[in-house]
């Protein structure tokens, strides 16, 4: 099992857009390692004839008809927006976007 190094934690925090203090970084490195060690323990089980589970609820094919319902409308949609401009959400300027 991959060992979680402080570098891996840095990588993940960057992906998650969160900032950790040095102490937190140390703490989470330890905790994540503990979690993975526990997973290793599960790996000891023989799962050869067990289908992989993707969902714990024994349900499948929950579908809806392609029928329109009223939307919120822009006024309500924007009601909780930290910032807006007309009917748009306003966000810090995006640089080098794909669109």
């Amino acid at each position: 099992m991959t060992k979680i190094t402080p570098d891996v934690v840095d990588h993940v925090t960057k992906l998650c857009r969160i900032h950790l203090t040095n102490e937190e970084r140390k703490k989470f490195t330890e905790q994540l390692n503990q979690i993975l060690t526990y997973m290793d323990k599960l790996n000891e089980l023989n799962t050869e004839n067990v289908e992989p589970t993707s969902h714990v609820v024994p349900l499948e094919n929950v579908l809806r008809k392609d029928a329109l319902s009223p939307s919120l409308g822009s006024e309500k949609a924007l009601a909780n927006a930290p910032d807006k401009h007309g009917e748009y959400f306003k966000v810090p300027r995006i640089i080098n976007g794909t669109e």
């Binding site: 992906l15 349900l59 499948e60 809806r64 029928a67 748009y88 300027r93 794909t98």
Partner: protein
């Protein structure tokens, strides 16, 4: 469009580098509502007016899959000869971007709905099979507006109307080796998606978008070389321009002995160049994991069979049938089958007027010409197939001449009247009785001595000008075949008498 792929040759005319291209195609499905909520998908509505807690990514909401998305995906997969994964799951693709309200996109990574299909493209060298790697369902993101569109220098604006619009992503194998082949593939794919009614592929609305992977390698090598991925290609033209640019750029690097970096590049339409994406490599770590909010989707084989039997005839088989059954040239058949509406219109006319070639000439020529002038589509053509069939039947019976028929067609288009009514009203019925045509021919011979002299001196082509004059004299009503016959007879008499 120039096909750079075919032109990348050295001084001896040999191609130096083999080009390998694969495509990812995103098509917005023509469902009424979004993939996981009941908001509408209409384009061009007021910003953020088609949003709800689900597509805005509010906490505590649950996505529920739209059954038509599944049906449309099956339809497309069948049309592209794919195999199905009967057990489907959705996955979260995690990344941060302001147009993605949940900070993840629901997509299918591990078990896409379909895989291993193919479609044919037609090249001058013959038919080529392009393989499809997989087809999967996913949700679109919102739309960001930048300073260029808004005039706001310190901020970007976001419209989430598009967030949650169902997309079908079709991934090809890297089976294309020139830009021309890519162009054929894009057209073939669009035709199939439109024919099957799965997507309307309006590129100006972002309904069909592309990403292209391209690599170059010296001929004879088997290692494909570093792959450059290009994003942000929103039309056929852009794909072609970006690929041509990339081929030139990579060729130049390779000739100078430099290495091409494996990277993602962005196409900029304004500068006409690609540039590397500045974002860190880390941004590509999407950390896919199964979407816990959606239960598995198990596709019933009976549903697949139902959809298979309801599937409309596809462009390629329609093309083949039109060539065979109507005796059309491949070119004409291709023009007519390029749109389902045009093909249907043609068939309705040809069912009444049993001269398929005449029908083809008029539908693709004169009628299409008027439609183009009026910026109308065959779908809202004011002339019905029955009306056109009537006109063409009158033409083939000799009741009207071809030049008159053109005038009548134009009148029908604008007035909505029937061919017969217009013929009566304008007195355009064809003059095919010899004794009515002869005086007009004589008149033209007497008043155009110069052209008659030319003919008698052996310039047989001069007869064309005289036919034109007789037709004009009779306001296009004379039967051109008869005119030509009588003219020749009288001219030969004239020649002998000299």
């Amino acid at each position: 469009m120039t096909d750079i792929g075919k032109n990348s040759k050295d001084a001896k005319g040999k191609r130096q580098y083999e080009i390998t291209i694969g495509l990812e195609v995103h098509a917005a499905l023509s469902t009424t509502t979004k993939i996981f909520c009941a908001c509408g998908t209409k384009f061009g509505e007021a910003p953020n007016s088609q949003t709800c807690p689900v597509c805005l990514g509010m906490p505590g909401v649950l996505p529920v899959l739209n059954e038509n998305v599944v049906k449309y995906a099956i339809r497309a997969a069948l049309a592209l000869n794919c195999k199905f994964n009967l057990l489907n799951k959705f996955d979260r693709k995690n990344y941060y971007y302001p147009d993605l309200p949940k900070n993840y996109q629901i997509s299918q990574d591990y078990l896409p709905i379909a895989h291993d299909g193919c479609l044919d493209i037609f090249l001058s060298s013959g038919k080529r099979k392009i393989r499809i790697n997989n087809i999967h369902m996913e949700e679109d993101a919102g739309k960001n507006l930048h300073a260029g569109d808004t005039g706001l220098l310190d901020a970007s604006l976001v419209d989430f109307n598009r967030a949650g619009v169902p997309l079908l992503e079709i991934v090809t194998y890297p089976d294309m080796h020139s830009v021309g082949e890519v162009e054929k593939l894009m057209t073939a794919l669009r035709d199939i998606l439109m024919y099957t009614g799965v997507a309307d592929c309006k590129m100006e609305e972002g309904g069909l978008r592309f990403e292209a992977n391209i690599s170059l390698m010296p001929f004879g090598q088997t290692d494909l070389g570093p792959r450059v991925e290009m994003k942000n290609l929103n039309s056929f033209k852009t794909v072609i321009k970006a690929l041509n640019y990339e081929i030139r750029r990579q060729e130049k690097s390779l000739r100078q002995g430099e290495k091409v970096t494996q990277e993602t590049r962005l196409w900029d339409d304004k500068s006409g160049e690609t540039s590397p994406m500045r974002s860190k490599e880390e941004a590509h770590d999407y950390r896919y994991f199964p979407e816990p909010d959606l239960v598995p989707l198990v596709i019933d084989e009976q549903l697949i069979e139902e959809i298979r039997s309801s599937l409309a005839e596809l462009p390629a088989s329609k093309l083949e049938r039109f060539c065979k059954d109507y005796g059309l040239s491949e070119y004409d058949a291709r023009v007519i089958t390029s749109s389902r509406a045009l093909a249907d219109f043609y068939e309705e006319v040809a069912a009444v007027c049993k001269e398929p070639k005449t029908v083809s000439n008029w539908v693709t020529g004169e009628l299409q010409g008027i439609l183009n002038e009026e910026k109308r589509d065959i779908g809202d053509c004011p002339i019905s197939p029955e009306q056109l069939a009537e006109l063409l039947s009158l033409l083939s019976k000799g009741a009207v001449s071809a030049p008159s028929a053109k005038i009548i067609l134009r009148d029908m288009f604008h007035s909505g009247k029937s061919a017969k009514a217009i013929i009566e009203e304008k007195g355009l019925s064809q003059i095919s009785d010899e004794k009515d045509i002869r005086p007009a021919v004589k008149h033209i011979i007497n008043t155009n001595t110069g052209i008659v002299d030319d003919y008698c001196k052996g310039k047989e082509k001069a007869i064309g000008a005289l036919i034109g004059k007789v037709m004009k004299e009779t306001r296009g009503r004379a039967d051109p075949t008869k005119v030509s016959q009588i003219l020749r007879e009288l001219l030969e008499e004239e020649k002998r008498s000299r």
